[in-house]
């Protein structure tokens, strides 16, 4: 009956977070083992590393140096041991620490992914709510047509069209690359300058189209459902304006599926923005992973995929925590 006292609520929350973090360690261990075995099966990096006409001595020396002569499980545990001390290994191709390599590329992908999901959410949700509020209006039908396009048109093709239109024909925006960045906390960001932004716009738009379509669909379905409830009728009977009802009642009530999809889309874009990054020569991690697969750069692949698992785990945790913020009924259930 009584609401939980704040300290008890926080305790329950802390327990939940710790439990989830322990689970996530398990997920990442499993992920690292799978990736390690998978990558091991792809091929022998030695063939790429040294020229075919190298002497047998050089060959064996290199194999030993990288520990490739050991059995798989020994290699794996050696890798895990190094991982615990924060060492992901060295890139076979670039010969620098993998962590350094990935972290240098990560901010580019991070801002690209974030920009695209934010565009998708901030444009898609209002459009979707409108389409759900007036399902029969011509404008709503137009919005739904756009969302069908967003789902069905391939990303690379839209990317090429965007470049063709805005970079080649109109010449308004650069066709690719990242442009200038501003250093904050030792990391370069491009969204902080106007010129940097011009480089970000096209790839972000390209990536956001699918998310936009998704957000429109979700927001529309949720709104249509909520508009028929007595909650909306009661709010109307109290004299609330339609705008207030949509903003304060409906938006809150449909937010849980929206936040879920926002989180999943953010994580998957972070991990797999490969196509867009390639088309716009955006120097992010997506391009890095493709390059490392072609050159069989084993440590980079493993580190990257473990990192991706980490992103998914963390973002899902944040999404779960936000449920409790968005729906008070879940707080009680969790604390019980």
């Amino acid at each position: 009956m009584r609401p939980l006292s704040m300290p008890r609520y926080c305790d329950a929350m802390l327990g939940f977070i710790i439990q989830r973090l322990l689970q996530s360690v398990g997920v990442m261990l499993a992920m690292s083992a799978l990736v390690f075995i998978g990558v091991y099966a792809i091929g022998n990096p030695i063939d790429v590393l040294i020229s075919p006409d190298a002497t047998q001595d050089i060959r064996e020396d290199t194999i030993r140096r990288y520990g490739l002569d050991l059995p798989l499980w020994q290699q794996y545990f050696a890798f895990l041991g190094r991982l615990l001390s924060g060492d992901f290994g060295r890139s076979l191709v670039f010969d620098i620490p993998v962590l350094e390599l990935v972290l240098a590329r990560l901010p580019a992908t991070l801002e690209l992914a974030l920009a695209s999901v934010l565009i998708g959410a901030f444009i898609g949700i209002p459009l979707g709510i409108y389409a759900g509020y007036r399902p029969d209006a011509v404008s709503s039908r137009a919005i739904m047509a756009v969302s069908v396009l967003g789902f069905s048109v391939p990303t690379f093709w839209v990317g090429l069209l965007l470049i063709l239109t805005f970079a080649v024909n109109l010449g308004w925006l650069p066709a690719g690359d990242r442009g200038p960045t501003v250093e904050v906390f030792g990391i370069g960001w491009s969204f902080l300058t106007a010129e940097g932004l011009t480089f970000l716009i096209l790839p972000a738009l390209n990536l956001s189209l699918f998310k936009l379509a998704m957000m429109i669909r979700l927001a529309r379905a949720g709104t249509r459902e909520i508009m028929l409830t007595d909650t909306v009728k009661f709010a109307r009977a109290a004299g609330l304006s339609e705008f207030t009802i949509l903003r304060r009642h409906v938006l809150r009530l449909i937010s849980i599926p929206l936040v879920t999809v926002f989180g999943l889309e953010f994580a998957s874009t972070l991990a797999f923005a490969v196509v867009t990054e390639t088309i716009f020569s955006w120097p992010g991690v997506g391009k890095l992973i493709i390059d490392s697969i072609t050159s069989l750069d084993r440590p980079v692949m493993v580190a990257y995929l473990v990192l991706v698992a980490f992103f998914f785990v963390v973002i899902n945790l944040v999404v779960d925590l936000s449920y409790a913020l968005l729906d008070p009924r879940l707080r009680r259930g969790r604390a019980a």
Partner: protein, 321 residues
């Protein structure tokens, strides 16, 4: 002048299956501070009548003709914005299921503040203060502290009190209560009924109490309208209608009340079911279920017999033919 004057109200729903005449020529009036019971089975048009009064008939339904004069102002055809300014301010409504009407993800205080601010600026503190005072009036203890609670932290009866408080915020002239006690426990029902009656008397608020339950209405209302198939079949002062019903349908409703039956005896029931509003018989809509129906009833719709009381029947009870 009466507070509410409804003349020949018709509210129809234009569905794919045809036109549903949910409210078909309803007329009544309501004085300030009066409590009016609107009684009928499901599908009799009583709720649609209520929603018509507050201008919240959902598409595909709309008021096709008639007049609703509220305090001298015509509500039929009133602009959306003007209607919205009346809602919650001068005409309020309470619904059946408080678990469905309150928003589960907003606190009681937030929801009531929205209703306060729907009719003019109010500071956060002023809105909370008004909300807390109104909650106290409907019998919620420790109201100021409960403002930060969510609906699921209240019992069903308390939730309905919150909904009633929300309706009372601006001191409306008229409250439409659509079966507000149906979803509650019997003991809570009685409390809420007594509370509503007291509040209406104290504030001079007129009340339209929609219910399928004659017993509830008899304990609360001054006057009662009995609806059947979108029409008012009988109306009059509560005591008279209950003691001496003129319409066979009202008689049937009274006979089916468990309280009037002898212990152990089978309950009386009205044979048949409510007719489909899509295919009403040409004559009296109650004729197929009526014990007194004859050839005239099947073909000619009955006129309103007035005199001391309104009844729509060819062969009213208790009147020497």
């Amino acid at each position: 002048m009466s507070l509410l004057e409804v003349r020949d109200l018709r509210t129809h729903f234009f569905t794919r299956a045809g036109v549903v005449r949910a409210v078909e020529g309803v007329s009544f009036s309501l004085q300030r501070g009066e409590i009016l019971g609107l009684v009928g089975e499901s599908g009799s048009g009583k709720s649609v009548t209520g929603f018509s009064l507050i201008g919240l008939v959902d598409p595909p339904g709309r008021i096709v003709s008639g007049s609703i004069r509220f305090d001298g102002q015509e509500l039929v055809g009133l602009a959306q914005g003007d209607m919205r300014r009346l809602r919650g301010k001068r005409i309020a409504m309470v619904f059946q299921d408080p678990a469905a009407t309150l928003n589960p993800v907003l606190t009681i205080g937030q929801q009531m503040a929205l209703a306060v601010r729907a009719h003019g600026q109010a500071s956060e503190a002023a809105a909370r203060d008004l909300a807390a005072r109104t909650l106290t009036r409907v019998g919620i203890p420790d109201a100021a502290a409960r403002l930060d609670a969510y609906p699921h932290e209240f019992s069903g009866g308390m939730r309905q009190r919150v909904a009633i408080a929300t309706a009372l915020l601006h001191g409306p002239d008229l409250i439409i209560a659509d079966e507000p006690t149906t979803a509650l426990d019997v003991s809570i029902q009685a409390q809420i009924l007594a509370e509503m009656q007291k509040l209406a008397r104290e504030t001079g608020t007129a009340l339209v109490w929609i219910s399928h339950d004659l017993a509830t209405v008899s304990s609360l209302a001054d006057r009662v309208l009995v609806m059947y198939a979108g029409r008012i079949v009988e109306s009059g002062a509560v005591g008279e209608v209950l003691r001496d019903p003129r319409h066979h349908y009202t008689r049937g409703l009274l006979d089916s009340l468990p309280a009037t039956a002898l212990p152990g005896a089978r309950l009386n029931q009205i044979p048949g079911t409510t007719p489909s509003l899509l295919a009403l018989p040409p004559g009296c809509p109650f004729a197929p279920r009526c014990p007194r129906a004859d050839a005239v009833c099947a073909t000619d719709p009955p006129d309103v017999v007035t005199g001391d009381r309104l009844v729509r029947c060819h062969h009213p009870l208790g009147v020497a033919a």
